[in-house]
């Protein structure tokens, strides 16, 4: 059992009339962000590392909540003596704007109506998420971050931080990510969104306090899980194994183990996530394009951050070539970047499960990063 439980903290800002102005031009406020911290911030505030979660993650990255069955989503990577070593570093993880795990999102109460926002919640972008996170980092009095890291959607946020706030991030670790969604990535998200929106219980997002669009959410999660694995990892895990029977049933009940696995994953998703948040966050991912205002090379013009970029050979959702394009654009700008493609069969999920290689890379990479505080003394 852990000697100390982790508690989620909350920070509320952008109270009217000082609302957050979103990329779409719409104003949103007040905004609450749920966050957790692990380790101690040192005296000159030079040991802070920001961790970003993926699409359906939350602020609970590590340690244990009281009475919880599982630790935080990246617990093997964050803690005493681990890659993000809490004996040395102060780790912060924030639930994204638009999420449903304590930060303001479509399931939050709209102060104007006293009811959940639902589809009245404004469309948000990765840029909006990052800007809201900066408010919290400023609130914590941290001027420079030693590093920032995340996989998948988390990697996009890390990337956006380096470009939007040049000089703030000493280093960044991007894992299994890219800089814009391709047609295939958008298409997979759209199928997942359509599954939710075609559920009669979705009711244009107005299902709070009523029956949930459970069937749609479940299907969307099944699609998600297929994209997070690789053909080989599914073959190794399930093959054609049958679930609870000797022979196939020649009916449409479940025959194969992979079918019940997906059904189980889908059902548990309904319990832990909000359907509207899934729509908003997946859309934010699809909208993101670091090269929309300039070409990708131009995007890194002022970037001084030191990067470690990690991809996985079997990740077909965020294939390595997309990260290689980022590396290429960084090199054209003389950005200090290291890139590695880890051989593994776990697909996109590798960033959550392929711990040994990532741990070694992350801890060694961080050892060679230092923050120069305003006094100019390197620590």
């Amino acid at each position: 059992m852990p000697n100390q439980y982790i508690e989620t903290q909350y920070f509320t800002f952008a109270h009217p009339p000082h609302e957050l102005v979103l990329k779409s031009g719409v104003k949103l406020g007040p905004v609450t962000l749920a966050y957790e911290t692990y380790g101690q911030l040192n005296a000159d505030k030079s040991n802070a590392i920001l961790i970003f979660h993926a699409l359906t993650g939350d602020a609970h990255a590590a340690g244990w909540h009281k009475d919880a069955k599982n630790p935080g989503w990246w617990d093997p990577m964050i803690g005493s003596g681990k890659a993000f070593n809490t004996d040395k570093y102060f780790i912060i993880c924030i639930n994204v704007l638009g999420g449903c795990k304590g930060s303001t999102g479509p399931s939050s109460i709209n102060p104007a109506t006293g009811k959940p926002y639902g589809l009245n919640f404004p469309v948000i972008t990765i840029e909006d998420m990052v800007i809201s996170q900066k408010y919290l980092i400023d609130h914590l009095g941290i001027k420079k971050l030693l590093s920032a890291s995340g996989g998948s959607m988390g990697g996009l946020m890390a990337l956006e931080w380096t470009v939007r706030f040049p000089g703030t991030l000493q280093s960044a670790i991007l894992i299994a990510t890219n800089y814009k969604h391709t047609a295939q990535q958008i298409a997979l998200h759209e199928v997942a969104r359509q599954a939710i929106m075609s559920d009669p219980n979705w009711k244009k997002g107005d299902y709070y306090g009523k029956e949930l669009p459970a069937q749609g959410m479940s299907v969307s999660r099944m699609i998600g899980h297929i994209t997070y694995m690789s053909e080989r990892s599914m073959e190794e895990k399930f093959g054609r194994k049958l679930e609870g029977k000797e022979k196939v049933g020649y009916d449409f009940s479940h025959d194969f183990e992979v079918e019940s696995y997906l059904k189980y994953r889908g059902a548990s998703f309904v319990q832990r996530f909000d359907a509207n948040s899934y729509l908003y966050l997946s859309k934010a991912l699809d909208y993101f394009d670091l090269s929309e205002d300039t070409d990708l090379v131009g995007a890194f013009k002022d970037v001084k951050t030191k990067f470690l970029i990690i991809t996985f050979t079997s990740d077909w959702l965020y294939p390595s070539y997309q990260s290689k394009d980022i590396v290429k654009a960084m090199k054209a700008n003389e950005v200090d970047v290291s890139f590695i493609e880890i051989e593994t069969s776990y697909g996109h999920d590798s960033f959550l499960v392929e711990i040994d290689g990532q741990s070694k890379l992350v801890s060694d990479f961080l050892k060679n990063v230092t923050v120069t505080p305003p006094g100019g003394v390197t620590v």
């Binding site: 470690l308 590396v327 054209a332 200090d336 970047v337 290291s338 590695i340 070694k360 060694d364």
Partner: protein, 193 residues
């Protein structure tokens, strides 16, 4: 103990230079250049395990092959591009040298000498493809795709108007003073276009 080829490469490189090592392995040479010459260093390496060692050493490294790794860089971006013990393993050495001299003001090329005395004797007396200290593989397991001698590389440079600024021929005892092509195991060239 510093490797003898590393010692001589170190001597060829001006302090505070910006260096790219193609096929940097576990980053030992780049790490030395950072410490001993205060260089800014980057490497390209194909072997995943070697990348971990580079990151451990604080060497910035990209996972990829030498043949395609140079296209990412602008002209004359580096003071030196190093190809130590890697040229013989690339698919298109001609293109790699041209690219190395495009992105680097100078290049340092280290090659195993296929025509040293030991190799010649093995071919002559044993009638078999030689296995030597600098070419320790059998024909069926060698990573080497190209087999060249010091004279071959000189000719190659001459035909392309590449200037050899320095040629350093080495064997286990150190620098070879004369008869480079006969007496040395490896040679290191400092070249420029």
């Amino acid at each position: 103990m510093m490797r003898i080829d590393h010692k001589y490469i170190l001597e060829m490189i001006e302090p505070n230079s910006h260096v790219l090592d193609l096929g940097c392995g576990d980053g030992e040479l780049l790490s030395l250049l950072m410490k001993e010459r205060n260089c800014r260093a980057a490497g390209i390496e194909i072997d995943e395990k070697a990348i971990y060692k580079c990151v451990e050493r604080g060497v910035s490294v990209s996972h990829g092959d030498v043949d395609s790794g140079l296209a990412d860089y602008a002209d004359k971006r580096f003071d030196y591009v190093i190809l130590n013990e890697s040229l013989q393993e690339v698919l298109d050495p001609e293109k790699v040298i041209a690219e190395a001299l495009r992105v680097g003001k100078k290049a340092i090329v280290g090659i195993p000498n296929f025509c040293n005395l030991n190799a010649r004797l093995q071919i002559f007396f044993l009638g078999r493809v030689p296995v030597t200290k600098s070419l320790p593989y059998k024909w069926y397991n060698t990573p080497n795709l190209r087999f060249l001698s010091i004279k071959d590389f000189r000719d190659f440079c001459h035909e392309r108007s590449i200037t050899i600024e320095r040629e350093c021929a080495l064997n286990a005892q150190g620098e070879v003073a004369f008869a480079h092509n006969l007496l040395s195991d490896i040679a290191i060239f400092l070249i420029r276009k």
